[in-house]
Symmetry: C2
């Protein structure tokens, strides 16, 4: 098997499901740590700060530092900075998105925004959606952390950020720019952060539509695990196949 | 000019804008009343009960009884009854929609719904959207009062019910059935309510995409007024033209 200089690793469905770690996940990360192979966790979850994500991983026995967590909120804030150094932004989102934008020095406002930035917000309201629409109709560009239509929870599949973003997109007729997986934007930012070329990094994930396509779209080789959303059967007729497929990360460690 | 046996009349942009009546509106309705020509107000607004709409019209000097007001909520409740006599429904909406569904004898529930019914809800929440998605994923059919992407307000164009509905449609991948204008469903129910054939009724409205297309889709002749959303210039290249176009209803009364 090819040796990679680094790994990008998805979280939900790859490292854990809800509050339970997935068999092989901790062992896989521990092997990378022992071999001093760099890795970065790439998650479309925009709600939490990297410190909170790292803490969750640590509680599940997975060694991670906050600098190894690259959320769609960090990617979005970083992407925004590349467009405009200090932007006025109207934000729908949770703590992770607000913190990321503020840390990049962007100014949060209700009116006259240059950009409307949308991430998952479990306290979404008509007033928030209205302010987003008014700013977009007033010329603000529309950026969304990720286009996941649904998110898995204990109760079932609940609305994801892509579904919430559609309110503003449908109402204004303006197409959003999505940043997170499977967009190449997030992957290019992650590569730049880790300082490696796409050929040197393996993208590991369970979700064909986000993780695997993110890798393929950005020109990375990919490893699909069958511990989350997508099954091998689901993807058997896809033209673009992952480079590797394994039942779980135990299987990968055996190869 | 052809004599029509009845008129279907739009409200917002045709009878009033916000809380102001539109010139010629009261006189037009008064003429119909004096000539004993039946008329019915057809509105995509699902939030109010017919009594509330009639009261608003009366306050603006426009003679109307609640029986002459056919909202998209009444149309939706009536359409639902045609599909299933007593249905279990999960509802997102305001007073007008709840009242209409209850008056038709449908049972409102959070779980195990046969249908999810969505109308404009200015108290929308993530929990409401989640329950809608869970019911749809559990097999409930998705019906929406109307697909208006935006609604005009004093603050500007705010999200309409079509935009809110898109959260559930995008998240579940299930296409909604829309009832209100420009769908033929609402028009056929209105014709049945007034007891006339489509050739006997003129549809009057300001919005090409909703009012005029509703008439055209259902086979009615149409009168477009330029007092609301659409201008003659907007529609000059449309293949399907309204039967008549007037600046305002004063102009129509002169013909």
């Amino acid at each position: 098997m090819k040796q990679y200089k680094a790994y990008f690793i998805d979280l939900d469905g790859t490292m854990y499901r809800g509050n339970e770690s997935i068999p092989g996940a901790a062992e896989f990360v521990e092997r990378l740590r022992i071999q001093s192979v760099p890795f970065m966790f790439l998650t479309n979850n925009s709600s939490s700060r990297p410190e909170q994500v790292a803490k969750k991983l640590n509680n599940l026995g997975i060694a991670a530092q906050h600098g190894q967590v690259f959320t769609s909120s960090l990617a979005t804030a970083s992407y925004l900075t590349s467009l405009q150094e200090k932007a006025k932004v109207y934000v729908i989102g949770e703590e992770g998105l607000y913190t990321a934008l503020e840390q990049e020095g962007h100014e949060i406002t209700d009116q006259g925004a240059d950009y409307v930035i949308i991430g998952i917000d479990r306290n979404i309201s008509y007033e928030k959606l209205s302010l987003a629409c008014l700013n977009v109709r007033n010329g603000a560009k529309l950026i969304s952390t990720n286009k996941d239509a649904a998110i898995p929870t204990d109760r079932g599949m609940l609305p994801g950020n892509g579904a919430l973003t559609s309110v503003v997109a449908v109402s204004t007729g303006v197409e959003p720019i999505f940043v997170g997986k499977p967009e190449a934007v997030a992957m290019e930012l992650a590569l730049s952060r880790i300082g490696l070329e796409k050929s040197e990094v393996l993208m590991v994930g369970d979700n064909y539509e986000t993780d695997i396509l993110a890798g393929i779209n950005a020109g990375l080789e990919t490893l699909m695990v069958e511990t989350g959303v997508s099954s091998f059967k689901d993807i058997q007729n896809m033209v673009k196949q992952p480079t590797y497929k394994v039942k779980d990360l135990y299987d990968w460690l055996k190869q």
